[in-house]
């Protein structure tokens, strides 16, 4: 079992692992001849299935060898350490990654070559003073082109093919609405603001106003935040086929909502829809396109903090299409820009977010 490659798109790789690490600590990394996939399935919250073409992050020297079909290697990778290790390659001269073993424990080992840090300012004059002894060091600001090698070892686990056989992408019904999301930075800021409003009642406890505190108590019980991530404030997100998106929160104390309009609902490709043109005509989204008013909206309810973490993918800078399965799920397709990655249009991240009941 061998895997070795130079890393081409270090920054994209950092952003990818950074976004994924918000949703889970461990990813299933699947490498084969054509693709690298990252899958995060947390116990609670959103699942991510990322598929990248090899040439989008790795150089041409990518080599993979495995007894399994299509040279497949399955690894369990801790995202935090991997992200951190990649970060040290940010301003590197070169960076490569390989699967290796140390003391019989499998590792993803990164070898990073950086220019040796150069001290600026006062300490340099110190070098200058000694320049007669070290003529190579004599040029201030350019004391030779020395290199420093960093190796970062990330402990991983090799998964046997049988262990991942049963893991499949979630199935979902045909979505009623698909819409291109507004800039994620904006969406994230607003969503977080709303989430915070949902959390706010918890923190008013210090008030001495008796009337207010009893009100707050009710609210606290209502929102019930003390549990895990599944029990935080819920945001209601809805969209229609007329280019409109709403996001809001409702608590006992307040109702607040933001609405976007003029967004685009991308056309479905008949070749991708079951039944071709006929299938497209019967597609739920085609029906929704003809509806007006409240019934034209498809709505899901998501956990505010989890949603905020999902939107962390905005750093990748891709186009995001949200597919609404009314009351059931929200699926985000993040199409990664080919300029940031080394190429390949087929790199896409899919987020599966389950809707809470009303």
């Amino acid at each position: 079992m061998r895997f070795k490659s130079s890393i081409k798109a270090t920054n994209a790789f950092i952003k990818l692992t950074g976004s994924l690490s918000l949703l889970g600590k461990i990813a299933w990394m699947r490498l084969d001849n054509d693709q690298v996939r990252f899958t995060v399935i947390p116990e609670q919250g959103t699942q991510v299935w990322a598929v990248l073409s090899i040439d989008s992050i790795f150089e041409d020297d990518y080599t993979i060898q495995s007894a399994a079909g299509n040279n497949t290697i399955n690894l369990e990778v801790p995202l935090g350490p991997l992200n951190r290790a990649l970060k040290s390659a940010q301003n590197s001269i070169s960076a490569s990654i390989r699967l290796t073993k140390k003391d019989n424990a499998p590792l993803l080992s990164l070898t990073i070559v950086i220019p040796t840090p150069v001290v600026s300012g006062r300490a340099l004059s110190h070098v200058d003073n000694q320049s007669q002894h070290h003529p190579d060091d004599g040029i201030p600001g350019n004391p030779g082109l020395r290199e420093t090698t960093i190796t970062q070892d990330v402990a991983v686990r090799v998964l046997p093919a049988a262990a991942v056989e049963g893991i499949h992408e979630p199935r979902s019904p045909d979505p009623e609405v698909h819409i291109l999301l507004p800039p994620l930075m904006q969406l994230k800021a607003i969503s977080e603001r709303f989430t915070k409003l949902g959390l706010a009642p918890l923190r008013g406890g210090a008030s001495t106003n008796t009337r207010t505190s009893s009100f707050i108590d009710q609210n606290t019980n209502q929102v019930g935040l003390q549990g895990g991530s599944g029990s935080g404030p819920r945001l209601e997100i809805s969209a229609n086929m007329h280019g409109e998106l709403r996001i809001g929160i409702r608590t006992d104390a307040l109702t607040v909502q933001s609405k976007w309009s003029g967004l685009s609902n991308p056309e479905l490709d008949p070749n991708q829809v079951e039944g071709g043109d006929a299938g497209l005509a019967n597609h739920p989204s085609t029906r929704m396109r003809n509806l007006e008013g409240e019934e034209s909206w498809a709505t899901v309810r998501v956990e505010g903090r989890d949603w905020g973490r999902v939107l962390g993918v905005g750093r990748m800078g891709g186009r995001v299409v949200a597919c609404f399965c009314h009351d059931k799920a929200l699926i985000l397709y993040v199409y990664l820009p080919s300029d940031e990655l080394g190429g390949g249009e087929d790199s896409v991240l899919t987020y599966y977010i389950q809707s809470y009941a009303a």
């Binding site: 952003k15 950074g18 976004s19 918000l22 600590k25 461990i26 369990e76 990778v77 801790p78 350490p81 951190r84 290790a85 040290s88 424990a105 590792l107 040796t116 840090p117 001290v119 600026s120 300012g121 006062r122 300490a123 110190h126 070098v127 020395r146 420093t148 090698t149 960093i150 190796t151 970062q152 070892d153 990330v154 402990a155 991983v156 686990r157 930075m185 994230k188 977080e192 989430t195 915070k196 959390l199 706010a200 923190r203 008013g204 210090a206 008030s207 001495t208 106003n209 207010t212 903090r305 905020g308 973490r309 939107l311 962390g312 993918v313 905005g314 750093r315």
Partner: protein, 441 residues
């Protein structure tokens, strides 16, 4: 009577702040040792494996410095005066934002410190006066505890290995270390030096993935300003100490010198800038994986005649300063509920003091918070945010806190805005009844 008086320039006050926040990573108390021509502030960690000390030269570091001891050593010389002060108290006085205003200018014009210890006074305090612009004067009175300050035994003559490198270079490297790694090993082999950051832990099978990063950084000996180290000698220290030291050295843009002999013997890291001599004595760890070669036999080790310091494997060999004289002044009386240190010890009833709390979030120092991207796109921490939120002003309804009275300044902004917990607040040094009002006389 013992008198200690010194004046600090704004720059020196900032340097005191930097030193105190560095010491905070070693111990919750700061030890002071004053003698005729210098003042030393130091800290020893609770496991006695690392000691940090900053020696401030009386004539170069201070604007003025005066020390007169009330006690004499048996040989007739003046006895040094020693005391210990809670680090948190000093940190909050010399806090960054108190000394440097938001515009980056110093709002402090001068800082005067005076201690007068007189046997006939029931109340002896460590007095700090900060003179700010616009005539604002802040007066702090801290209680202190007379203690004996242990000194690590370190003999540079036994150290065959030495190197010197700019702190900036090491700081750059430390940013590559994993956040939870514990040990740092330095190893020299054939013209190359490897810094390895690792965690020695028996990891259970299921927890393999929780293992911190293992980082190795290799550079050439030519990257050092000075380098004279035997081949294949390991030196291992704690990453936490290392980070604390280089962070401080980097603020001074200093170059760090290291002196060491072989594993389990102490290592000294030092640098001197602007009349401030910084010395850190660290217990080195045992063998790292492979073995170091035996120390070269030709090394002269004059101290070997001394009984071998076996305890050095567990902690630094410490030398208590026992030259305290008979004439020494008794500790200031500390009625229950009044003194600073007593209050502190009452709150923490645990037998062993908690590990020193760094003034700044340890991790955030090295996982730089200024990573704009992670801040914008990362998970938002709703629990710890505070800014820009509407809240009831509850402070008024609660009883007046003693802590706020400690600063007699016209502004208590420094305290109010500090995210300090109830425990972090500075305890009173005086009874309410002892505070003189403006018109009392």
């Amino acid at each position: 009577m013992t008198t200690l008086e010194f004046t600090l320039s704004p720059e020196a006050a900032i340097r005191i702040h930097d030193a105190v926040s560095c010491l905070a990573k070693f111990n919750e108390n700061v030890g002071f040792e004053a003698s005729r021509d210098k003042l030393t502030i130091n800290a020893l960690n609770s496991s006695k494996t690392s000691s940090a000390s900053f020696t401030l030269q009386g004539n170069t570091f201070f604007q003025s410095y005066r020390f007169a001891s009330g006690a004499r050593l048996p040989n007739g010389a003046e006895a040094p005066w020693t005391c210990s002060i809670l680090n948190k108290a000093l940190l909050s006085i010399f806090k960054d934002r108190v000394i440097v205003s938001s515009e980056g200018e110093s709002s402090v014009e001068r800082c005067e410190v005076s201690v007068q210890e007189r046997p006939d006074r029931t109340q002896c305090r460590f007095g700090i006066k900060i003179f700010c612009r616009h005539g604002v004067k802040k007066i702090y009175k801290l209680t202190y505890e007379p203690i004996q300050i242990p000194r690590p035994l370190f003999d540079p003559r036994t150290c065959r290995n030495r190197w010197k490198i700019a702190a900036y270079v090491l700081k750059t490297f430390s940013e590559f270390f994993g956040p939870r790694a514990e040990n740092l090993d330095m190893f020299h082999d054939d013209g190359r030096v490897t810094f390895t950051c690792y965690t020695e832990k028996i990891v259970f099978k299921d927890e393999v993935l929780k293992q911190p990063l293992h980082t190795a950084i290799t550079l050439e000996t030519a990257d050092f300003e000075e380098f004279d180290v035997e081949d294949k000698v390991h030196a291992g220290i704690s990453v936490k100490d290392f980070k604390a030291i280089i962070l401080h050295a980097e603020t001074l843009k200093a170059s760090i010198s290291a002196l060491y002999s072989y594993p389990t013997r102490p290592m000294q890291l030092s640098y001197t800038e602007n009349g401030m001599q910084c010395e850190f004595t660290l217990q080195t760890l045992g063998e790292f994986r492979g073995s170091s070669v035996a120390p070269a036999s030709n090394v002269i080790r004059p101290t070997l005649s001394r009984p071998p310091t076996r305890q050095s494997a567990q902690g630094l060999a410490l030398q208590e300063i026992r030259e305290q004289t008979v004439n020494s002044m008794p500790p200031p009386p500390q009625p229950v509920g009044r003194s600073f240190s007593q209050m502190a010890s009452q709150r923490t009833t645990r037998p062993s003091p908690p590990p020193p709390k760094a003034s700044v979030n340890e991790e955030s120092l090295f996982v730089p918070d200024d990573d704009e991207e992670d801040r914008v796109w990362g998970a938002r921490n709703y629990e710890e945010e505070d800014e820009g939120e509407l809240r009831w002003e509850s402070a008024r309804s609660t009883t007046i806190s003693f802590g706020k009275l400690q600063s007699n300044s016209t502004t208590t902004r420094g305290y109010e805005s500090a995210p300090q917990s109830e425990e972090g607040r500075i305890a009173p040094t005086q009874r309410m009844s002892q505070i003189k009002g403006l018109f009392d006389d």
